[in-house]
């Protein structure tokens, strides 16, 4: 084993143990924020596969987030399934429904696809609001905490381990997918659909796979969101939330492995940092987004590189 590789392993080991120890040392509120951060990371890592790597725009990620949250909560409340079964069911529900919305992507892309996913998000949101018998409408749903035998995961600290471990697993999976044949197919698809087809890549198949993966990630994150907050409300899954997810990956750095984490951290911490200026939150988000699109189109992750280039020139 080379020295570099050894150092790398030690580095990641330290990071991992820091994260595992976090709930023991940190304040409850910070643990709660970390939970939200990891949930946002899961969605944005999934969305990054679809948008950043496979090049398909989606304005409907909050709908899948919501489908996961409602499916897993309702499985627990109405049927009495344990959380450990409800969560994957929520993920599968999202992935299943994404087939429906992935199908138009075979025919359309770019602007058209943005419109389809946007309309899809709005329809799902309206169903959440109006199907009162099932979703309890705008009163929201109280999600029970997961249980393992006698132990109830009711504190933020205990939920943290569930969320963190699943997130870690999903990040590794995403990384492996992107390094596999499938991941390479995604990237070539983004660069040129015609060229990919000419080397025998089945466009339709890989577009649908990308859609399903991102929907699966978003839905699982939705299930985790439901237990992290113990409460879900249709407003959590509005179009604006979809836009925030998109903001995360764009500001972080589209099509990079680590960009989504930066974006997720930024958008989890910003609302807290704004505090009193809460009513300006959306406005500030939008200005940040606009500025970053115009001045830093490749995302925050490239900021150090850009700065270095500028200083070298000077």
């Amino acid at each position: 084993m080379s020295k570099v590789k050894k150092n790398k392993i030690i580095f990641w080991f330290i990071i991992l143990s820091l994260f595992l120890a976090a709930p023991q040392v940190l304040d409850n509120y910070f643990v709660y924020l970390l939970n939200l951060f990891f949930i946002a990371c899961i969605v944005s890592v999934g969305l990054n596969i679809l948008t950043g790597f496979a090049g398909q725009v989606s304005l409907g990620q909050a709908a899948f987030f919501g489908i996961g949250a409602y499916t897993s909560s309702l499985c627990m409340i109405k049927i009495g399934f344990p959380f450990w079964l409800s969560l994957p069911l929520g993920g599968l529900a999202g992935a299943g429904i994404s087939l429906l919305i992935g199908l138009p992507s075979l025919k359309v892309s770019g602007y058209y696809l943005a419109l389809v996913t946007l309309a899809f998000n709005e329809i799902v949101n309206l169903i959440m609001i109006h199907w009162k018998d099932m979703t309890n409408g705008t009163d929201g749903l109280n999600t029970p905490s997961p249980k393992l035998g006698e132990f109830v995961f009711s504190s933020d600290g205990s939920k943290y381990y569930v969320i963190f471990l699943l997130a870690l697993f999903l990040f590794m999976a995403a990384r492996n997918i992107l390094k596999s044949k499938t991941g390479r197919a995604f990237i070539s698809l983004k660069d040129s659909e015609v060229a990919s087809q000419s080397v025998g890549i089945n466009l339709g198949k890989y577009k649908i796979i990308a859609f399903m993966i991102s929907a699966f990630y978003a839905s699982l994150a939705g299930g985790l969101h439901a237990i992290a907050l113990s409460y879900i409300h249709p407003q959590d899954f509005s179009l604006f939330r979809s836009i925030i997810f998109l903001m995360m990956i764009v500001i972080g750095g589209l099509g990079t492995l680590r960009g989504p984490f930066i974006g997720a951290a930024l958008f989890t911490l910003l609302p807290e940092a704004l505090g009193k200026f809460h009513e300006y939150q959306e406005l500030i988000y939008a200005f940040i987004l606009l500025a970053s699109i115009i001045f830093l189109p490749s995302g925050l992750i490239r900021l150090p590189g850009r700065l270095a280039a500028v200083t070298r020139k000077v």
Partner: protein, 288 residues
């Protein structure tokens, strides 16, 4: 009753048509899908409110002032946001215009708050009967103003130099610039006209609904109207707008008012899934 519902559908639909037309102008002319078009309708309604109700300027002068203000906004937006992004991928443009729409909406929220402002119409609302249909002068006024604006736009595009330059740029930017047309200037004019149309829509829509910052949600209706018409043709946008006005009015009346919103989304998804080139086109659509 059916005819009555259809008629009021046409009245609303003519407003949709105006705004959808502006939307298509930008899309065809500059290749940018402007997600902020709905917010422009909303903020223009506030401009109208400012001119007509606060400064007590008469109805038609306020309408013209509103259109001019919005046109100026269009030019500014094109300069600040869209010109730097001309060569960017579709994704960046979508996000940038969404950011603009959020900014406009929040400015409206901060300035005017969540209050409903009623907006008076210049025309009386005392109805008269035409067969079984009740018609108010307000309805007639809305349709007539729409027709006048459409006529002006048609004349401008077909019979003026600027119109010819716009059409030329829309069909081939490179060729147009070789022929000595300043493409940048055409873009500015296109945005100005498009926002002018949106603002006229907002001004006419304001008396029908009350003005709130949420009025910009009309953008979905605009998308649907434009997609119905095929996203490529100006006539299509007008027909799509009127058609959508009628359909959503019928759905609202015969099914339920909650269904009025859903129907628009459903049409949007269905058309994009099965006939993305729109209802009326025979040719192939442009991808992306």
């Amino acid at each position: 009753m059916f005819l009555q519902v259809v008629f009021s559908g046409i009245v609303v639909g003519s407003i949709y048509a105006l705004v959808a037309l502006g939307f298509i102008l930008i899309y065809k002319g500059t290749n940018i899908m402007n997600f902020a078009q709905g917010e422009m309708v909303m903020i223009s309604a506030y401009f109208g409110l400012m001119y007509h109700v606060y400064y007590k300027i008469d109805y038609f002068t306020s309408l013209i002032l509103t259109i001019l203000t919005a046109g100026l906004c269009g030019i500014m937006l094109e300069r600040i946001v869209c010109r730097p992004l001309l060569k960017s991928p579709v994704m960046s443009i979508i996000i940038a215009t969404i950011a603009v729409s959020i900014i406009i909406k929040n400015i409206a929220r901060l300035v005017w708050g969540p209050i409903f402002y009623p907006f008076p119409s210049a025309f009386s609302v005392t109805p008269f009967h035409l067969g079984k249909v009740m018609i108010t002068p307000k309805d007639i006024g809305t349709i007539v103003i729409t027709l006048i604006l459409l006529g002006m736009l048609y004349y401008g595009l077909q019979h003026t130099k600027i119109g010819a330059a716009m059409l030329a740029t829309a069909s081939n930017q490179k060729a147009a610039s070789i022929m000595g047309i300043s493409v940048k200037r055409v873009f500015s004019i296109t945005w100005a006209i498009s926002f002018g149309l949106a603002s006229a829509g907002g001004f006419l829509l304001a008396p029908l609904v009350s003005i709130t910052p949420e009025m910009g949600d009309i953008v979905i209706v605009i998308f649907t109207a434009a997609v119905l018409g095929g996203l490529e043709s100006l006539t299509g946008a007008v027909v799509g707008g009127v058609l959508l006005g009628i359909i959503s009015n019928l759905a609202g009346f015969y099914i339920s008012t909650a269904f009025k919103d859903v129907v628009s989304f459903l049409i949007l998804i269905t058309i994009l899934m099965f006939k993305p080139s729109g209802l009326f086109s025979r040719g192939a659509m442009r991808k992306a």
